[in-house]
Symmetry: C2
């Protein structure tokens, strides 16, 4: 049974907006906010724990079955006025469906990393880039994403949307000391590669990929830190034309990941 709410001062609504807008709140409450039919059902199917569901009457009429399933899974379900839905929505097309979910506790290391293929991201700051990279990581069939703890919050709504729900399905490891962890993987026999803009690095298309590879991609403006490059030991490069600007970080990551799997 849903609770009907229409007051702007409702505590649950206020808290959902906080989770939408504040990374600090998300971290403190270990929960996050999503919107839209697709993402909410994606979360449900991925066995993400749904704490609260908010939906409008038109949404319930249009998506009867989905709202029923979400409502059954949610700890609390709220029927909200359209005015309140507008307050909750981050996008112009929210469809009047919103959930507050429990954040997954991401491990700080890979279990049995031996023969996997991984993307490792150091200090990626732009949520659109992060979302896009996670989407590509899943689509190309890599085994997991390794993130430095100073990357942007993966529960930022832009990351979740950009990832098209890949965030819910893809194994994600968040490591406190990026370079140290890369070094450890290398000692365990994996092959970490540092993506760098230097033309004296190995051309990425000249690398023969086997299993057990970690592709390391750095911050949008500054690239990988010196420590991370040293930890990798091997440097790779996407050759570019002379006049050109660099590639976008998510684009670079996509080309590098594609090279890891293209011969499959």
């Amino acid at each position: 049974m849903s609770i009907e709410i229409s007051s702007k001062d409702n505590a649950a609504v206020k808290n959902a907006v906080k989770l939408r807008t504040s990374s600090k709140e998300r971290s403190e409450q270990s929960s996050f906010f999503i919107e839209g039919l697709r993402l909410c059902t994606d979360a449900l199917e991925s066995k993400i724990s749904i704490l609260q569901l908010f939906y409008t009457e038109p949404a319930a009429q249009k998506n009867h079955e989905a709202i029923q399933s979400l409502s059954a899974a949610a700890k609390d379900a709220y029927l909200v006025s359209e005015e309140l839905a507008e307050k909750l929505a981050d996008t112009v097309n929210s469809q009047g469906i919103f959930c507050v979910c429990e954040a997954t506790k991401h491990p700080s290391f890979l279990e049995n990393p031996g023969s996997g293929r991984y993307i490792a991201l150091e200090n990626i700051q732009d949520p659109s880039n992060m979302g896009n990279i996670l989407r590509t990581t899943e689509a190309l069939g890599l085994d997991a994403a390794i993130l430095s703890s100073d990357c942007c919050d993966i529960y930022n709504p832009k990351v979740i949307r950009g990832s098209m729900g890949a965030l819910f399905r893809l194994p994600i490891v968040i490591v406190p000391d990026f370079s140290k962890y890369i070094k450890k993987l290398r000692q365990e026999g994996l092959r970490p590669l540092a993506a760098v803009p230097d033309s004296d690095a190995s051309k990425i298309s000249a690398i023969r990929f086997f299993k057990g590879v970690v592709m390391c991609v750095g911050n949008e403006g500054n690239g990988l830190t010196e420590q991370a490059i040293t930890a990798c030991g091997e440097r790779v490069n996407i050759p570019m034309s002379e006049n050109a600007e660099s590639l976008n970080a998510a684009t670079s990551a996509a080309i590098l990941m594609w090279e890891m799997v293209r011969a499959d």
Copy 2:
């Protein structure tokens, strides 16, 4: 000599904001708005005609030489108050430098397309995707971008920023009838390839690329039209893992373009 303005009702400022926000205004006036030191100097270096320069006093102090060059090139230069600069700015970090530029008249066909390599975009709607694709097209050294006339406005500020100025340097052709033009290129001996999500299409990594190739990529949601696919005659695909969502359009385009040049 710059004209000093501080009134919000100043016609030049009002017009610049219109050009920033309205595609219709850009089209009617054949001009567009850019902001930031980097893009403005990029435009100047690319011999884009600068109609108006707007800058703040702190910007002039910080970037003396650049403002002098821009001011010398601009038909009109205006020194604006910081309050007005905020009104002009689309981004949080505009640096207090803005230009209104004359739009390039893009041809509707390629001259001597014979041995070139091209990306052809049909109905790409998202300005961030468009900007990103143009940036990648330049960085990977393709010869030109062919755009259907129903793509988003390339002078949208998000396209210009996303392209990192590639828009000013890259040959761009805008064709009124996309499928007809692709068919024509095929008749002239070029090889147009239709990027499709169908697993029975040729795996992109199995294609041997020579010169004279046109890679066609379609709308974010709907892909290429049937007419465009038919005009190409050949279909290619990026293989993806089972559970996965599709790739982002700009990401797909990047992988496909990379395949065209990786053996160089």
